[in-house]
Amino acid sequence: MRARVVAVATLSALLLAAPAAFAIAFHKMPTPQLQARYERLIHGFRCMQCQDESLANSPVDLAADMRRQIRTMLLAGDSDQQIRNFFVSRYGYFILFKPPFVASTAWLWLSPGVLLIVGATAAALVIRRRSTMVARDNDEPVDESLPRESRS
C-alpha cells in the first residue's frame, strides 16, 4: 500500500513537472492589440527545427530567437505582412503553416479536392453497380449450377 502511494505520488509529480520543464517564455507586448498580433503570428510560423510545431509550441532556442525577432519587428512598427515576408524570403513558404496559393504550392492546396473527387467518383460507381446487381438478383432466379464469378 505504502509503495503504491509513493509510486502514484512520484508519477503525478513527474507528469506535473513535465510541462513546467518545457515552459515557453512568451513576450509581453505593451498593448493588447500588439499582444494579439504577436500571438497570432507565432502560431502561424513553423519551427524550422522541429518542423511540426509552431513557434508558439516549440521549446528550442531557434524558436525563441524567432519569437524575439517577431517581437522586435512588431515594436518597430512592421506590418504582419512585412514580418511574414521577412521569414518567407529567408526560409521559404515552408515556414508558413498556411502557405499562400501560388504556382509552387498549388498542388498542396488542390490535392485534397482531387482526392475527394477521385474517391467520390469511385464510391458512386461502386454503389451504382451494386444496386443494379441487387435489382438483377431480385429479378432473375439464381441458377445455382453457375459459378458465382460468371454472373457479374
Binding site: M48, Q49, Q51, D61, L62, D65, M66, R68, Q69, V88, S89, R90, Y91, G92, F94, E149, S152
Partner: protein
C-alpha cells in the same frame, strides 16, 4: 473483371511503394531548400571573435569568393566537419568565414585552440539574430558566396570530404583563379 477484388490490394501496394520511397529519401527531405540561393547575401557588421574590439563585415568580403560557415561549440555535427574545414583552409582554395552561433566566447576560443582554426575571420552571433537573417535552422550550414556578394549555394549538414568534392567545389571557379583573387 475476374480479379477485380485485387484492385484495392494494388492500390495498397502503390501506397506502400510511395511511402517506402518517401522514408528512404527522408534524410534529404529534412533539408529545406533555401530561397536565398541566387540572392544577395545579408549585409552584416558583427564583432570579431578573436578581437571583440574589431568587426567582421560583409563589405570586407566584397570581391572575394568565400564560404560562410555557421557553427557553434555545442553543435556535434560541427565537430564532425571540423577536420574537413581545417583541410579546406590548408588548400587555400577559398577562405572560410565563420559565424559563431549562440556560443560562449571562452568555449569557442578553447575549442579552436584544441581543434585548429580554419577560419579567416569569425563573426559572433551571440543571440542568434544574424542566423535568422541567413535563414539558418540548424548548424552546421555553409553558404558559398561569390565576389558580387551573391549566395550561389548552400550546404546543410557536416561537410564530408565527399560533400566538399561533389557538392561544394563545383560551385567555385577553377582553383587557381580563386587563389589568385583572394
Amino acid at each position: 473483371m475476374r480479379y477485380r477484388y485485387l484492385i484495392p490490394l494494388a492500390v495498397f501496394a502503390v501506397i506502400v511503394v510511395v511511402f517506402a520511397v518517401g522514408i528512404e529519401q527522408s534524410p534529404k527531405k529534412d533539408l529545406v531548400p533555401s530561397p536565398l540561393i541566387g540572392k544577395r547575401a545579408p549585409v552584416f557588421t558583427l564583432p570579431s571573435l578573436m578581437n571583440p574590439q574589431r568587426q567582421v563585415s560583409s563589405s570586407q568580403l566584397r570581391g572575394h569568393w568565400y564560404l560562410f560557415n555557421v557553427w557553434g561549440t555545442w553543435c556535434v555535427s560541427c565537430r564532425m566537419e571540423h577536420p574537413e574545414l581545417v583541410r579546406i583552409a590548408h588548400t587555400g582554395i577559398v577562405p572560410i568565414i565563420g559565424l559563431d552561433w549562440r556560443d560562449s566566447r571562452a568555449e569557442a576560443l578553447s575549442y579552436l585552440k584544441q581543434h585548429g582554426d580554419p577560419y579567416q575571420r569569425i563573426a559572433v552571433d551571440r543571440k542568434g539574430n544574424e542566423a535568422i537573417r541567413w535563414g539558418v535552422y540548424g548548424a552546421p550550414e555553409t553558404f558559398v558566396v561569390n565576389p558580387r556578394g551573391i549566395i550561389v549555394y548552400k550546404y546543410i549538414g557536416p561537410i564530408t570530404p565527399q560533400a566538399w568534392r561533389q557538392d561544394i567545389l563545383p560551385h567555385l571557379p577553377a582553383a587557381q583563379t580563386v587563389a589568385a583573387r583572394s
